[in-house]
């Protein structure tokens, strides 16, 4: 009998040991270090050229800036009257041996070029410009030689984080979280259609007028961040551009600031601060904003960019 009791005690002891709870562990992701992304093809030659007003004109519009982005995209700034607009051209850019920037369409056909020691030179330059810009039904032809321009390349502090973010990103998904005293609700969507958040915002009792609904009902084709200090969002119906810079030397948060043209909507506006989270080969750009209406919520909007 004694040995049976001893055996039962052993079994109980064994089960008690295996019943001990596991300690809480903080959720871990990544290895704590910023990954290093492969540089995009035009990273070393990307530049912003600012052209004086009325130096190059066509059909009442003046070409006042042309961006060659790190991903080889071309964004032009048109000034017409008091208004400034931006167009992301469906072109790519390459650099010839003599530094000439060759602009080609998707089929590889040359549609423009910029000459004048543009590659790897800084400060004020003199350009030869030949480019056509089509906006809706209107085509602008900008041609000129000896065009003075200010060249801006690395306006942002060079570091791993800057090299990582400076390129054109495609929005693969977005996530919106509402947080209030009574709910913490989230919604995610594939792609960059902000309009899918309109109904969610209304259901969270946000007050949206027709203009705000129109501005929200847009699809983001791409987000471009440049070392020249430009931050642009290409929508299906146009491009908006503002300025950006890091808020501190941790290179974790970037601050948007006013540029020349119109920028923003209910969720993403001038003076927004965005948090950058790096994944192995992509980034999450997160904006903390507010939804106001019958109820007030903080809203966290995240773009997953690849």
């Amino acid at each position: 009998m004694k040995k049976y009791l001893l055996l039962m005690a052993v079994i109980c002891a064994a089960t008690i040991n295996t019943s001990c709870s596991s300690e809480d562990k903080e959720y871990q992701y990544g290895n704590g270090e910023t990954p290093v992304f492969t540089l995009p093809p035009f990273a070393n030659d990307a530049a912003l050229f600012e052209i004086p007003l009325n130096q190059l004109t066509s059909n009442g519009a003046s070409l006042t800036a042309i961006n060659f982005t790190e991903s080889g995209k071309v964004i032009v700034e048109l000034t017409k009257g008091s208004g400034v607009s931006y167009v992301t051209l469906p072109y790519n850019v390459t650099v010839a041996d003599d530094g000439t920037l060759i602009i080609t369409d998707q089929g590889g056909n040359e549609v423009g070029r910029i000459t004048g020691a543009v590659s790897r030179s800084f400060g004020n330059v003199t350009l030869g410009i030949n480019i056509n810009v089509t906006v809706g039904d209107q085509t602008y032809s900008f041609n000129g030689t000896n065009v003075p321009a200010g060249k801006i390349q690395n306006a942002i502090a060079l570091c791993t984080q800057t090299n990582n973010v400076a390129r054109t990103w495609k929005v693969t998904s977005m996530n919106l979280v509402f947080d209030g005293t009574d709910i913490a609700l989230s919604k995610s969507v594939e792609g960059g259609n902000l309009g899918e958040f309109v109904e969610a915002a209304k259901n969270a009792r946000a007050t949206l007028n027709n203009d705000e609904v129109d501005k929200l009902s847009k699809t983001i084709n791409g987000i471009t961040i440049e070392k020249s200090g430009k931050f642009s969002i290409e929508y299906t119906d146009g491009t908006e551009v503002c300025n950006w810079n890091w808020t501190d030397e941790n290179y974790k948060n970037l601050q948007l600031s006013v540029g020349k043209g119109v920028f923003g909507n209910k969720f993403l506006s001038i003076n927004s601060e965005l948090t950058v989270d790096f994944m192995p080969s992509s980034i999450a750009l997160t904006l903390n904003t507010a939804i106001t209406g019958d109820q007030n919520y903080t809203a966290i909007l995240t773009f997953v960019l690849k």
């Binding site: 899918e196 969610a200 192995p280 995240t302």
Partner: protein, 276 residues
């Protein structure tokens, strides 16, 4: 219970021909076969047993707990009402059903260390589906635009984006949550009585534990996967370390308590009848 045991015993007694009491030399592999019916904390069971040697016997069988079902109604109130579908009365309530599932095949080896005693040590395993408890809403409760991608934020909305962890519905807009343990459950125990009776019929007693592993809750969650670099939404094990929203501390505490229940006691009586 007594009637059940009596009926089972009589049924077994009526099977086959009468045999004399077994002697030690009779215990050889597959020399004899017995069948048993058990009842205990592991449910109702049926098994067959055969001796290997005088000191060892093998038992195999199946045990199950009769399906215990539970129904209740949950409130879908609060500001989240916009994502939920009201019931046919226009009230934000939903039916929630629960079911306890315990059905396992078992393979056990009895070791009889003492010549003149039926005391035995038992080792083996219970093998079955891991789902122990299922709770679900039979009807769609979440509006179409929120199915599978919107829900209750269990994570830290003030921390990194990777700390967000959202409880969501399935793709049909229904809620479901399962409590799972290991499908393979080692067993160790002691008992009295031989699985293959010396006489025609006997009763055995077993006391032991099943090792379940760490119980886990499984449901639909959504989060940004750092390595996949995308939002993932689907049926996953709930990671309690990601439940960091102070509003839902009770959920995390409940998971922590559940994780402590890693063993299950087995206490049962078996009526065995020797077939040959």
């Amino acid at each position: 219970m007594r009637k059940l045991l009596l009926i089972c015993g009589m049924a077994l007694f009526g099977l086959g021909q009468a045999h004399a009491q077994l002697v030690p030399g009779d215990y050889k592999l597959f020399n004899h076969l017995s069948a048993g019916v058990s009842v205990g904390l592991d449910g109702i069971g049926f098994d067959v047993a055969t001796p290997v040697t005088r000191f060892l016997a093998i038992r195999a069988g199946y045990t199950f707990l009769p399906g215990i079902k539970y129904s209740t109604t949950i409130d879908l109130d609060g500001a989240n009402q916009k994502i939920f579908i009201p019931n046919e009365d226009g009230v934000y309530k939903a039916d929630l059903k629960g079911k306890l599932k315990m059905g396992n095949f078992k393979l056990l080896v009895d070791f009889y260390p003492f010549k003149l005693s039926s005391f035995h040590l038992t080792v083996g395993a219970y093998i079955g589906k891991g789902t122990l408890v299922s709770a679900y809403t039979p009807d769609q409760i979440v509006n179409d635009i929120y199915r599978g991608n919107s829900g209750i934020e269990l994570g830290n909305t003030n921390g990194s984006i990777f700390e967000q962890y959202t409880l969501v519905s399935d793709e049909e807009g229904k809620a479901n949550i399962d409590l799972k343990v290991n499908g393979f459950k080692p067993y160790v125990g002691i008992g009295f009585g031989r699985a293959v009776p010396k006489k025609r019929v006997n009763v055995t007693f077993d006391l032991g534990v099943q090792f379940w592993g760490t119980p886990a809750l499984w449901t639909n969650v959504k989060y940004l996967d750092y390595y996949k670099e995308e939002y993932v939404s689907g049926y996953n094990k709930v990671d309690k370390n990601r439940v960091t929203n102070s509003k839902y501390k009770d959920v995390k505490d409940a998971i922590k308590v559940g994780e402590k229940i890693r063993v299950y006691p087995v206490l049962k009586l078996t009526v065995n009848g020797r077939i040959f």
